[in-house]
Symmetry: C2
Subunit: 160 residues, 2 copies
């Protein structure tokens, strides 16, 4: 397949790239952004509003609205911190925890489906290639530096 055909292939599949939620069958009751917010809460157990904002690269005003919705719909709960009363901490409710469990189960079933398609060598090489590409992409990312300076958190998961 030549370079031009690859370009055509990419263009024909740009919709899938732009709207992955349509082909990844995660029939979600929350929006993509809401899911990401819940994800970060799930991964840290408890977060503060600013951490969600940082993670989403969104202003606090946006996060307030987002969390309002998730609280109203029973996925998150707010709590005013006692040590620093400016701070509001956010946790998952039981309903929220259940949803995250289901999300993980869905993703795992996808991973298994893909794994089944590939041989051990293919799997390994694919992993290597993905890492190369991820590194290449983050290398030229100007956010990389800006972001490091004043982070509320950001944990790096060491791979391999």
């Amino acid at each position: 397949m030549g370079q031009e055909k690859i370009l055509d292939f990419v263009l024909d599949n740009l919709k899938k790239v732009f709207f992955p939620e349509e082909w990844i069958r995660l029939d979600l009751s929350v929006s993509k952004t809401e899911l990401l917010a819940m994800l970060i809460v799930d991964r840290y157990g408890e977060v503060i509003m600013s951490q969600i904002s940082d993670y989403l690269n969104a202003p606090l005003s946006t996060t307030t609205g987002l969390v309002n919705r998730l609280v109203k719909n029973g996925y998150l709960q707010r709590e005013r911190s006692e040590e620093d009363r400016r701070i509001v901490t956010i946790q998952l409710t039981d309903k929220g925890k259940t949803m995250m469990r289901e999300l993980k189960a869905t993703i795992e079933s996808y991973l298994e489906r893909f794994n089944a398609l590939l041989s051990a060598e293919e799997r390994q090489l694919l992993f290597k290639i993905i890492m190369k590409i991820v590194n290449e992409l983050s290398r030229k990312d100007p956010d990389a530096e800006n972001h490091e300076k004043q982070d509320h958190f950001l944990r790096k998961i060491p791979i391999e």
Copy 2:
């Protein structure tokens, strides 16, 4: 890397999956949906409103608003068909064509960057793997059948 670590890796990168436009540096002056509309116009040269609606899986009322914006901003032009005066045909303006050219150039430069990272064998195997995964994903897609029955268009690009 074990299955669980892969899950963590996926979860940690879910944001990149959900919002690819943030790491694909396509500083766009139009929204994702608008870009997709322009893409389909570009690929067919001239389309009708219903074709855009079909492609976007959106009702015509949505498409009208979308095209209004793109016309107002000078990317598209409307024309009433003479053969069937109910039909409105859409084309790219020069400004729209320029934007699409730039989009393609950007994507090509990404492809080249990735290509440079991979050996010939890696490239080939990656292609094979992508095809396997794309096939697997589309295999279980219920839309696949529904869509075929009454399409305004939909061209399949034969790969390889």
